[in-house]
Subunit: 121 residues, 2 copies
Amino acid sequence: MTTATSPRVLDHPTREEIRLEGVLHALSDAVRLTIVGDLAREGTELSCSYFDLPVTKSTTTHHFRVLREAGVIQQIYRGTAKLNVLRREDLDALFPGLLDSVLRAARAQGERVGQRAGDDA
Amino acid sequence: MTTATSPRVLDHPTREEIRLEGVLHALSDAVRLTIVGDLAREGTELSCSYFDLPVTKSTTTHHFRVLREAGVIQQIYRGTAKLNVLRREDLDALFPGLLDSVLRAARAQGERVGQRAGDDA
């Protein structure tokens, strides 16, 4: 099966290269938690423009890169669009239950604090 | 019930002040994961000298402060000793299952990578 990816391929860690410390660091930010929560809820590839984030475009790009380099998301060029997808299978295989407990904790905190993560910027 | 704490009291966030982002950041380091793993396993107050860490004393002090300020541990002076204890009750109440999934992930990674976290410093 071939996919219509462009020659521009971004660096990603292999599953074996993903480290817990890097994943936790990538998740330790309100904006990045919002991105990961959206990707988990939608369960499909999303372009960067899908996300309604309270930061500049360059900061958004930075956050996506941190998530990619930690192995939390995969970023794929399709034509001119850069699409993002959660590496749920890799994360669940390496760290069973971790991603779901973080997503639950983020939702619970959002309800408790009464705001969407990132709104206090 | 009174406890023999000295007048020197260290700043700690209340349970309500603890934030998921801060907890994940505090856990995103191999040395701090080792400290938290030891505290979870022993389940009691431990002095800083208990921990066999591959870093200097001042770096060790820094790591304990990060954990305390994030609300992951409580540090209590008893006489001349500074004792550390995991805030498991607070963390489990705020973020059910999170601490255990992180500790499991750290153990699994340690077995997979074949080294104690922090040994690659």
